[in-house]
């Protein structure tokens, strides 16, 4: 909408959203984000991992379902909200779908910025919103059979902190 302007001096960085069945390499992803931007002073990262225990039952595997199209749109919207709130360079969100075993990685969020407060807050914000607004559903296989995981009131409370 604006007239063309000169490139912003700090306009390095991009938002990347990936929904995939494959695992991801945290070290390689962080290195790729940081490459070539000597203005980055802070990298905040969160990795969500499949546990072998949930709500008191052993979990032998998990199946992650999503809503193709809407999931990517929701994650893009969450990332845009984070950029409105904080001065950031890069946002990377990778979320796996399909079959996932205990100790395997489920989700990765990486945020880079000049100073630490901004990447910390944005990373936590992204996870809190992702947990409550991005269409993913977990089904766990336990000795008692397969069960859909219930949403947690604590996740809604965490997301509400940012309102």
């Amino acid at each position: 909408m604006n007239a063309p302007t000169a490139p912003r001096p700090l306009a390095q960085g991009a938002t990347t959203i990936r929904v995939q069945t494959e695992d991801f390499d945290v070290g390689a992803e962080i290195a790729a984000l940081r490459a070539g931007n000597a203005k980055i002073g802070a990298v905040a990262t969160f990795i969500g991992v499949c546990r072998d225990l949930n709500d008191g039952s052993d979990v032998s595997e998990m199946e992650l379902e999503h809503y193709p199209g809407m999931t990517e749109k929701a994650l893009g919207g969450i990332a845009a909200e984070a950029r409105d709130r904080w001065d950031l360079f890069d946002i990377l969100v990778i979320h796996r779908v399909g079959r996932i075993l205990p100790t395997e990685q489920i989700v990765l969020v990486v945020v880079t910025s000049a100073h630490r407060g901004e990447s910390f807050h944005a990373c936590e914000f992204l996870m809190d919103y992702l947990k409550t607004r991005a269409p993913f559903w977990k089904k766990e296989r336990t000795p008692e059979g397969a069960r859909w995981v219930d949403a947690r009131a604590s996740d809604d409370a965490a997301a509400d902190r940012w309102r």
Binding site: E65, H66, Y67, H95, I106, P135, W137, W148, A151
Partner: protein
Amino acid sequence: MLNVLYFARLRDALGRDAERIELPAGVADVGGLLDWLRQRGDVWAAELAPGRSVRAAVNQDMARPDTPLRDGDEVAFFPPVTGG
């Protein structure tokens, strides 16, 4: 026509992941469509009952009961999300 999608526990319980529905007479919004679906009875009445925490999206944006519906919309129903 509406393209109506069901996900996760709802899809399992309702026995379908999608259907095409001619926008019913008198249905103007998401809440109206839910009422109409409940009138199918059985699992529809049970799974979509007001206490069951059903979430909806219209054209891939989160929606509320008063979100309007138009011919051609993609409407999705699903339980609260549990990713991450």
